[in-house]
């Protein structure tokens, strides 16, 4: 994958795993502090993604070499 950070799905999955581990009580104190920090970081990442708001719709059209190319934005019309 081109993205260096996790996808939302991966982040959420890992977060749930960490919480389960910490709750199980089978983690040493040092480890649970590490995991807590990791969990907090993941929560931040998830919330960042959730807060992203892509308002535009990108148009794609067939361009040269029969591939799809960006073709601007779909205008929002107030009265539809």
């Amino acid at each position: 994958m081109a993205r260096s950070k996790k996808t939302f799905a991966e982040a959420l999955e890992q977060l749930e795993r960490i919480v389960a581990e910490v709750e199980s009580g089978e983690v040493s104190l040092e480890d649970s502090i590490d995991k807590y920090a990791e969990g907090v970081e993941l929560i931040k990442q998830c919330q960042t993604i959730l807060d992203a708001a892509e308002k535009k719709i990108q148009l794609l059209a067939k361009g040269k070499a029969s591939q799809l190319e960006a073709a601007g934005e779909l205008p929002e019309t107030d009265r539809q």
Binding site: V19, L29, Y36, L50, I57, Q58, L59, Q80
Partner: protein, 528 residues
């Protein structure tokens, strides 16, 4: 031809018939030949029949019947017979008209043919040329729908097993629909409300009419090919509500094949709840409407947000609990003496060490002095045991013994025998050699103890003592040969080793020709 020849003209039919009377021979009228005996060529006959027909049937006719002997030529032309209970007629439908058919004609199908009557010259055969064919009863579209559905179903395109799961958190969604219209408006609004994090792409297409199916199919295929580049995780194919004709493009084969072939999951949202198109059947997931498709494509952002808050709470609570317990434990320990007065232990230890050190030094001194004094006594005794001294004393004793003996012998012979033996053994004990030997041994052992104590400190400084096999201390390189076994004593133990080689001070400074040339690996430990 004369006017009175319109056989099926309704107007004329009402009036008095001016046409041929029944029974009257009109052959000559028809053939335009007054001479009944002159035959005409076949083509003449046929062309005259054609002309008569086109007069009688100037307009299109509309005929209902059943298809039989249906043949589709490679040319694209269709040939069949249209029949009812009593009669049949040949029908031809040429490619231009045939290609517009939405359904596949088959034998036994009841259809309505709109077309023209004519004679096929070559065979003089009556022929109906079909311009339009519609199935009787169910419409053409319903039939076409059923035919394609059955075909694709038998080919496995609708198999639930091959439907792909829809990704829960798509990074980007692509929509195939009209750029104007209700569908994209509803989809846009729904996606923005539920999951604004996803990027939305639109490939605008015709959604009905000529070429719409091809555009929709091509859009799906191109999106699928570029899905990775744009991180498109899901495709939505959508159209607002309409009649079966309006939605027809989504029932066409190219669209079905494109959706089937796509590796990206496809959600369909076409028409209203009740409309089920073939695209809906092939898609990985069907939604009743375009809005429904958008809802299925993304999760509810509010729900997910709540889920994360909950995880956050669980994490904090749990980690917080553990931290609180650890903190309490640490505080308890902190209250103990060890932490309140940390140097207390240190002071005790320091004092103890000082005491021990003092005791150690004292005991060493004591040992030394007692060893010394232990030595002094034997040393004195040794001196006292000097052979000359001993000899003197022994001689003196001997004299005394002799004189005693003489005296005793002068007086008491028996008692003196016993006394003699008694004195003899005392003499033996007093023998200088015996006592010297004992003293020597004692001194030697004390000496070794002294030695041991005195050179320990030297060893502790890093020096070592190497002895030969017999116990002799190695002091000179002259005592050493390669292959010699030696034992080395360190301050806290000893080890054995085998001499590889060495050199003395003289050798190191001047190598003579007699020396064997040595390779580096054969060099001794102390070679330059």
């Amino acid at each position: 031809m004369s006017d009175n020849f319109s056989l099926f003209d309704p107007d004329k039919a009402r009036g008095p018939r001016k046409g041929p009377d029944v029974g009257k021979d009109v052959t000559s009228d028809l053939l335009g030949s007054k001479d009944q005996s002159t035959p005409v060529g076949v083509s003449v006959l046929v062309s005259q029949i054609k002309a008569a027909l086109s007069q009688a049937f100037p307009r299109r006719v509309s005929v209902v019947g059943e298809i039989s002997n249906f043949k589709r030529h490679g040319s694209g032309h269709l040939y069949f017979r249209l029949k009812d209970a009593q009669a049949s007629i040949d029908v031809a439908m040429f490619r231009p008209a045939a290609s517009k058919l939405k359904f596949s004609p088959t034998d036994g199908l009841e259809v309505v043919i709109d077309g023209r009557i004519d004679v096929y010259d070559v065979r003089g055969q009556l022929q109906l040329y079909s311009e339009r064919m519609t199935p009787k009863g169910a419409g053409a579209l319903e039939l076409a729908f059923r035919q394609l559905k059955d075909k694709l179903e038998s080919e496995g395109l609708f198999d639930p097993q091959i439907k792909k799961p829809i990704p829960r958190f798509p990074r980007a969604i692509a929509v195939v629909t009209s750029p104007t219209g209700a569908a994209i408006r509803d989809i846009r609004r729904t996606l923005a409300r539920r999951w604004p994090a996803a990027t939305v792409y639109l490939v605008g297409v015709l959604v009905q009419g000529e070429g719409a199916a091809e555009q929709i199919a091509q859009a799906v295929t191109l999106l699928d090919a570029s899905a990775e580049d744009y991180q498109i995780d899901t495709i939505i194919v959508a159209r607002g509500g309409g009649s079966i004709e309006d939605l027809w493009a989504f029932n066409e084969e190219p669209v079905a094949l494109a959706i089937y072939a796509a590796e990206t999951p496809v959600i369909s949202g076409v028409g209203h709840e009740v409309d089920v198109t073939i695209a809906d059947m092939v898609a990985d997931l069907r939604a009743p409407t375009p809005t429904g498709a958008a809802e299925l494509a993304v999760p509810d952002g509010d729900e997910v947000s709540a889920q994360i808050s909950q995880l956050n709470a669980r994490l904090s609570r749990r980690a917080g609990d553990q931290l609180a317990r650890a903190r309490a434990a640490i505080e308890a320990i902190g209250r103990s003496v060890v932490f309140k007065d940390p140097s207390a232990g240190l002071r005790t230890q320091t004092q103890r060490i000082d005491e021990l050190g003092y005791k150690l030094r004292a005991s060493v001194r004591e040992r030394l002095s007692s060893a010394r004094s232990a030595l002094s006594e034997p040393a004195n005794r040794l001196a006292a045991l000097h052979p000359a001294t001993l000899a003197e004393r022994a001689a003196a004793r001997l004299d005394r013994a002799r004189s005693s003996l003489a005296w005793v012998l002068r007086g008491r012979t028996k008692r003196s025998a016993g006394q003699l033996s008694e004195l003899s053994s005392k003499l033996a004990e007093a023998h200088p050699r015996h006592r010297l030997k004992m003293a020597r041994q004692k001194v030697a052992s004390l000496g070794r103890q002294m030695e041991a104590m005195s050179y320990r400190s030297v060893l502790a400084r890093g020096f070592s003592v190497t002895r030969l096999a017999g116990g002799d201390i190695l002091r000179s390189i002259q005592q050493v040969r390669p292959g010699l076994k030696v034992r080395t004593e360190l301050s806290d133990g000893r080890f054995d080793s085998l001499v590889e080689g060495g050199s003395d001070a003289k050798q190191r400074n001047s190598r003579t020709k007699a020396d064997k040339p040595r390779s580096a690996s054969q060099g001794g430990l102390f070679d330059d």
